[in-house]
Amino acid sequence: MKRRTLLASAAMGLMLASGAFAQGMEKVKACFVYVGPIGDGGWTYQHHQGALAVQEKFGDKVEIQYQENVPEGADAERVLTQMALGGCNIIFTTSFGYMDATNAVAAKFPDVKFEHATGFKREHPNVSTYNARFYEGRAVQGTIAGRMTKSNKIGYIGSFPIPEVVMGINSYYLAAKKVNPNVELSVVWAFTWFDPAKEADSAKALIDQGVDVIASHTDSTAVLAEAAKTDGKVIGFGQASDMAEYKDGPRVSSIIDNWGPYYIERVQALLDGTYAQSDVWAGIKGGEVLIGEITDKVPPEVKAEAEKVRDDIAAGTLHPFTGPINKQDGSPWLAEGATAPDGDLLGMNFYVEGITGDIPQ
């Protein structure tokens, strides 16, 4: 198609002008596409922290560009094209929904590197994917939840019923069940990524029905704020960012998305000329998933147990999904001692045995 050649030649012209590729680069222009505003205090905020870490590490050798609030679909494709035309050498697209747009634009700009977060499509040699094993952090939270609950009712606030969220719910439940066989899990689907008032209402509904430990997979701190109103009866976890402002209140630990190390590594590779296509799914071990400080509200032996889960996962001696595990309907999923293949996890659309309720589908 004519448009493609047009774009490709334009990109080529830019590349020749800057005269930089193949053998490492003098200077890298790293660009980031965000799905929300930087001020969301969660997902996008953490990606931006990663971008800032790159800037700090390389100083004059990198130039950072970013665009906030980019809707998925046509708008993403335009922003990506514009960035590629504008001379970005590497573009990080930080939301699952950018998957097709990333691959479509990558086809037109073979010399620009594309890094897509949380997806699986690498249709062109210049597309890499990266993700974090947040479910590992959920196992640590589940351990704390199972030990800390007095009512034996723990809760989870989900955004949308997608594998990423279902995976976290299962991991959280299995870990809690392991240390406390009587534990029951209630799941609330908010059907939104971001609506602080609704997230608070969801937390309130859980609390009103006797749940005393809440984990969440939505974006704001509203859940912790709601838990804080119970005078210490209900605890919760920071999600995406540390949410340290609730440390003296309900927040007993957190999962922190830590993208900085990966971003630095990829930009470094580009500078060195060692860049290669990859599919990275790192977790606690790779430093992409940090477990925020476990506060003194948690008794020392529980804290030690949770930290052991964290350290065992990091050491590779523990996998949160280790058989025997049955699916919710009782059919076998993992045999004794077997660990979950990544493919099963990435497409997870079932609850494990013991969780009540249905995944909306």
């Binding site: 970013y66 906030e68 998925e72 046509a74 589908q361």
Partner: protein, 378 residues
């Protein structure tokens, strides 16, 4: 006519009673200001926006140039000009439908929901026959998309005509219902069976019979853009030449006179809501099969709401709406460039867009009114 002594003076304190700036209705709308107000508003916005950008430590001239000049004449205009059409197409298509209703005093605020349902209906038809290749598939999908939007708009329309239920509330509430159905479609009944369990439907770009690609390479023109421009012309003819257009205008300006002329309010509601719903539904279908590519949880991006602004900026006139649609598209595309390239927060662009709208709406007063200096008019 004749200004009453109670006309409020503005800009100058009336207590001084010496010089008062007064607003006075023109006997006929000014042709000059009809065309002069948009450029004046844009210039005023540039000045005010420039101050804002300067206050944020950016070079105001560079920002303004990036927003208004670069997408059309800049280095990458060959690509961005087409993108203006991509962005303006759905806005125009939806706004024209809405304008018909607004003229008749029918308030469809829920075009966003009709847009979503059009996309779901149309996409469902296409995906149901995947991977059949047949030339008829895409046209049938367009009809299905229009039908989906029409159906969703018929709910408030029927409730209004049968039960006298306010259409503002019903159409608005149905947006949220449509969003939930969209989430269900993406994670359930339209989910890509080969998508590794991820939410979202198949991508239409890999299904040629159902896709809505660019018609002329690099132009950004797809069937949605064609439909928008054709609809603009048709709506213009309808409003100026056709009996139904007369009824619409009459119902809006003089509801009682309209009834004497035999205009049935119920039929008018059903017609206007139906047209606007069908057009919004078509816009959704063109978007999902073309630029967006797939049904996903966050498929809708607010075109249905922005189109309301476009309808009024275009003075509810189909040709005006086409121009207004392009102006809005320009602020989106240019604003995005300013944000990416110059490191402006996205919020600053929103503020700038808001200012542009304020100025456009405010300066418009000069078309029908004039300011008069009155000495000692207290």
């Amino acid at each position: 006519m004749g200004a009453s002594p109670h006309t409020p003076g503005i800009f100058v304190d009336r207590k001084w009673g010496v010089v008062v700036l007064r607003l006075e209705k023109r006997p006929t709308p000014s042709k000059f200001w009809l065309y002069a107000t948009p450029p004046v508003a844009v210039i005023l916005t540039m000045i005010a926006g420039g101050c804002l950008f300067a206050a944020m430590g950016k070079n105001p001239f560079e920002v303004i140039r990036t927003i208004f000049w670069d997408p059309v004449f800049g280095e990458f205009a060959f690509y961005l000009r087409g993108q203006l059409l991509v962005k303006a197409g759905p806005l125009i298509l939806i706004a024209i439908g809405l304008a018909l209703g607004f003229r008749a005093g029918i308030w469809n605020i829920g075009a966003e929901g009709q847009y979503i349902m059009g996309a779901i209906f149309g996409a469902a038809v296409g995906l149901a026959v995947f991977p059949t290749e047949n030339r008829l598939i895409f046209p049938v999908m367009v009809v299905a998309g229009a039908f989906g939007g029409w159906l969703w708009a018929m709910i408030p329309a029927i409730l209004k005509t049968k039960f006298n239920t306010n259409e503002i509330l019903v159409s608005l509430m149905l947006v949220y219902v449509a969003e939930t159905i969209l989430a269900k479609a993406s994670t359930g009944f339209l989910k890509n069976p080969e998508g590794m369990g991820f939410p979202g439907s198949r991508n239409f770009s890999s299904y040629p019979a159902a896709a809505n690609p660019e018609l002329i390479a690099g132009s950004g023109l797809h069937w949605g853009g064609v439909a928008a421009l054709v609809t603009g012309v048709l709506a213009y003819i309808l409003l100026t030449r056709h009996q139904a257009g007369f009824q619409i205008r009459l119902a809006g300006q003089a509801p009682r006179a309209a009834r004497f002329h035999g205009v049935s309010p119920a039929r008018l509601v059903v017609m206007c809501m139906g047209i606007s719903g069908a057009l919004a539904g078509m816009a959704g279908l063109f978007e999902v099969t073309g630029p967006a590519g797939q049904i996903s949880i966050d498929f809708n991006t607010g075109y249905g709401f922005t189109a309301i602004i476009v309808a009024f900026l275009g003075r509810l006139n189909p040709l005006g709406i086409v121009l207004a649609g392009f102006l809005m598209a320009l602020t989106y595309v240019g604003g995005e460039m300013a944000s990416t390239n110059l490191g402006l927060p996205d919020a600053a662009i929103q503020v700038f867009q808001g200012m542009l709208l304020f100025f456009l709406l405010a300066v418009d007063v000069l078309t029908n009114y004039r300011f008069r200096l009155a000495v000692g008019a207290h």
